[in-house]
C-alpha cells in the first residue's frame, strides 16, 4: 500500500483503520476531557454527558453565571446543567427531552429569560443519531481528537487548582466589563411573554412529576445587584411563581472577574455554600 499516491481503496482502508484505532483507544483509555475547543462544544458535551449518564438527583440549570459552579466542586448528588451563553430554558428542555425526572431543580434567576438554544437541543437529540452516539464514543463531541490534545496540554502545562485559587483579579478588565454591564442593565426590560409561558409549562411539567423546583441568584457585583433590569425581572418571577428561593447569605464576599461571573475561588466556595443551603432547605421542607 503506497500511502503517498492517491488510491481510493487505500483512502478508505486507512480511514477505517484510523477510526478503528481511535475508537479502541477511547474505549481502553477513556481519556479525561477537561478542556473544550469552544463554548458551543462545551455546552454540547455537557448536554451529552448528562443525557448519556451523569444524572444526579439534583440539577442546577442556568447561564454562564451558574456554570461557574463546576461539577468538580459539587457532590455526586448534584449536577450542573448550566450553559455558557445559554439559558435556563435550554437546560430544562434538555432534562425533559432526556426523559429523566430529577428530585430537585435549581433555576438560576439572573439570566432567566434568554432564548433557549434550539440548535443545541436539535443537535443533541437528532433523531436516531443521538442514540447511536451513546454507544459510539468517537462520534461524541467530547471525544474530538483536538479536545483530547488540548486537555492533555492543559493537564501538563495548565494551571493547577491551587494556582487558580490564588488568581488575582485584573482590575482594569473588571472595571471595563463592569461599565459595559452597567450600561446594558439600565436598559428597560421588555418581557417576552412566550418565554415566560415556556418557563411556566416546563416548571409545571416537572412539578406534576414530583420534582421540587427552586430559584436562586448567582452573586454579582454590588453595583449591579439592584439595576433596573434585574429588579424588574425578579418582580416578574416573584409575581408569577410561588416556588421557594434558595437564599444564600453574604453575597458580597464573593468576587467576580467582570461584574457577573464569579472568580474561580469564589465559585469554589459558593458551590459549597450552595449545596449546604440546598440541603438545609430540603430538610426544612420535609
Amino acid at each position: 500500500m503506497n500511502l503517498f499516491t492517491f488510491n481510493f481503496k487505500n483512502v478508505i482502508s486507512i480511514f477505517l483503520l484510523l477510526l478503528g484505532i481511535y475508537s479502541l483507544l477511547l474505549m481502553i483509555i477513556q481519556p479525561k476531557v477537561i478542556m473544550f475547543q469552544n463554548i458551543q462544544q462545551k455546552n454540547y458535551s455537557f448536554a451529552q454527558e448528562f443525557i448519556y449518564g451523569n444524572k444526579a438527583p439534583n440539577i442546577i440549570v442556568g447561564s454562564s453565571m451558574a456554570a461557574r459552579m463546576k461539577n468538580e466542586f459539587l457532590s455526586e448528588d448534584f449536577v450542573n446543567l448550566s450553559f455558557a451563553g445559554g439559558s435556563v430554558l435550554t437546560g430544562l428542555q434538555t432534562i425533559k427531552k432526556s426523559g429523566f425526572i430529577p428530585k430537585t431543580i435549581y433555576i438560576e434567576e439572573n439570566i432567566i429569560f434568554r432564548d433557549k438554544d434550539q440548535k443545541l437541543i436539535d443537535a443533541v437529540f437528532y433523531p436516531l443519531w443521538w442514540k447511536v452516539k451513546k454507544y459510539i464514543f468517537v462520534l461524541q463531541e467530547k471525544y474530538q481528537p483536538l479536545n483530547i490534545i488540548i486537555s492533555k496540554l492543559k493537564g501538563s502545562y495548565g494551571k493547577s487548582h491551587e494556582e487558580y485559587m490564588k488568581e488575582i483579579r485584573n482590575e482594569h478588565i473588571y472595571k471595563m466589563n463592569l461599565m459595559i454591564h452597567k450600561k446594558n442593565l439600565i436598559m428597560p426590560f421588555i418581557l417576552d411573554q412566550s418565554k415566560l409561558d415556556n418557563l411556566k409549562s416546563l416548571i409545571n411539567y416537572f412539578e406534576e412529576n414530583g420534582t421540587l423546583v427552586f430559584f436562586f441568584e448567582m452573586p454579582i457585583a454590588k453595583e449591579l445587584e439592584n439595576s433596573a433590569q434585574l429588579k424588574r425581572q425578579r418582580d416578574i418571577i416573584k409575581n408569577n411563581f410561588e416556588n421557594e428561593w434558595l437564599e444564600i447569605p453574604k453575597l458580597n464576599k464573593y468576587m467576580t472577574e467582570d461584574g457577573i461571573h464569579l472568580m474561580y475561588k469564589s465559585a469554589y466556595t459558593f458551590s459549597f455554600t450552595f449545596q449546604e443551603r440546598a440541603e438545609s432547605l430540603l430538610e426544612e421542607i420535609k
Binding site: L3, N10, F15, L18, L19, N38, V138, P145, I173, D258
Partner: protein, 471 residues
Amino acid sequence: MLFNSFPFLLLVLATLIVYYNVYLKNYQVHILIISSFVFYAYGQPYLLLLLFLSSSINAIASYKVYYSQSKKKKKFYAILGVSFNISVLSFFKYSPLFGVIVNDLNSIGGIGEFLIAIPLPVGISFYTFQGISLVVDLYRSNHQSECPLFKVPKDFKKHYINTLFFISFFPQLVAGPIVKAYQFYPQIKTKYFFDVEFEDAFKLLTLGYFFKMVIADNLKDQTFWMAYPYFESFSSLTLITLLFGYSIQIFSDFAGYSLIAIGIAKLYGYNLPQNFNYPYISRSFSEFWTRWHISLSTWLKEYLYIPLGGNRVDKTRVYVNLFIVMLLGGLWHGAAWSYMVWGGYHGGLLIAERYFMQYTSFHTIQNRLLDGIRILFVFTLVTLGWLLFKLPEFWQAVLYVKSIIFSTGVHRKDVMMMIFFYSLPIVVYYANYLMRSEEKNYLDNSLIYAVMLFLIITNSGSSGEFIYFQF
C-alpha cells in the same frame, strides 16, 4: 437544506439512484429539476413560486431573443429579460434597505415596515445573475462573433425545461458558483454512470467538506468573539488573531461550499467553473479578484465592466468604471451600507494599485522576498476588509480597528491557540500550492485524504450555515 445535513445526503443519493437508472435516462433533466425544487422548497416552500416564475420569464425572454427575426425585437426582449431580473433582485434584496431609509425619513408611515418585512429568498443573487447571463449570452451570440454560441432548441418546451434546469440546478442554486449560460447549456445531454469522474468528485467533496466542517465551522465558534461588545475587552494581539481567523474562516467556508457544489455536480456529469484559486497568495489586488469568487468577478467583468467600456476608454473613465463595478459588487452581497463600503474599499484599492503601477516599475521587479511582502500586504488589506462582513454596523468595524491600535485588554490564549490549530491546514494547503510542481503534489495522496475523512467524522464543528447563503 445544508450541504452537511442528513436530508441533503439522502437527496443526493436518492437522486443519483434514480438519475442513472437506464430506463429513466430520457428524463435525467426532469429528475434533477424535481430534486432541485425539493432542495429549494425544504427551507422556504412558498418562495419556490418565485424561482419558478424567474425561470419561466427567463425562458420566454431568452427564446424570444434567439428566435425573433428583427434586431429591434431581439433587443427589446433582451432588455425586458435583464430588467425583470434586476427588478426581482432589487425588490427582494434591497427593499429592506429602502424600508430603513423610508422609516428614518418618517414621511410615509407603514411603507417602511412593509419593505423591511419582505423576505429574502435564498440564492436570489445567484439565480438572477444566471438569468441575466442567459438572456445576454443569447443576445450577444446573435451579434458578436467572438461570443461562444450555443443553440436553443426550436421546441420551446425543451428550451423551457433546459432553462428551469439551468436556473435551479441544486448544487449551485443557493451560493454559486455563478454559471454562465454558455458554460452550462452545451453540457445538457444524456449522462452515463461510467463516464462520471468519481475520483475527482471524491477529492473535491472530501476537501470541500473538510474546509467547511472541520475548518470553517470550528473557526466560527472562535471568531464569535469578534462580535460587539466582546471584542472591546481583548488585547490587540487577540484582535489581530481573531481577524486572521475570520479571514481563514470565510475562505474555508466559501471555497468549501464551492468545492462541494462542483463535486456534486460532477456526480451528475456536469462541470461547474472553478470558484477559488488560492486567493490569499495574490501579489496584487487585481490578481486577488482573478482568484477569489471567480464566477462573480468574471460575471461582473463580462456583463458590467466591459459593457461600461472596460479598459478601452480614457484613464479617468477606467477608474470610474472600476469603482462602479466594485461598488455594485459590494452591494450585490447584501442590502447594507457596510457591503457598499466594502465594495468601495476594494474599488479604491484597485484604483490606487492601477495608478501606482502606471507611474512606477516596482511591480515588474521579480524577487522572492518582494513577492512575499506583496502577498502579505494584499492579504492584510483584504483581511481588514472582511471586518465589514463580520460586523453588521460600520461603526463597529471602525471601533474594532481602534481597539486593535489602542486596546489594553486581555490575551485570549485559548482562542488564539484554537485559531492557530485550525488555520494550520489552510496554511499548509497554500504552502503546498507554492511548492508543488507538475510531478509532485505533496497533498494529493491517500494518507492525507484518509486523515481529512477521519477529521470530518471526528472533529467537525457545530453545523453552521454557509456565510454566502445570506447573499
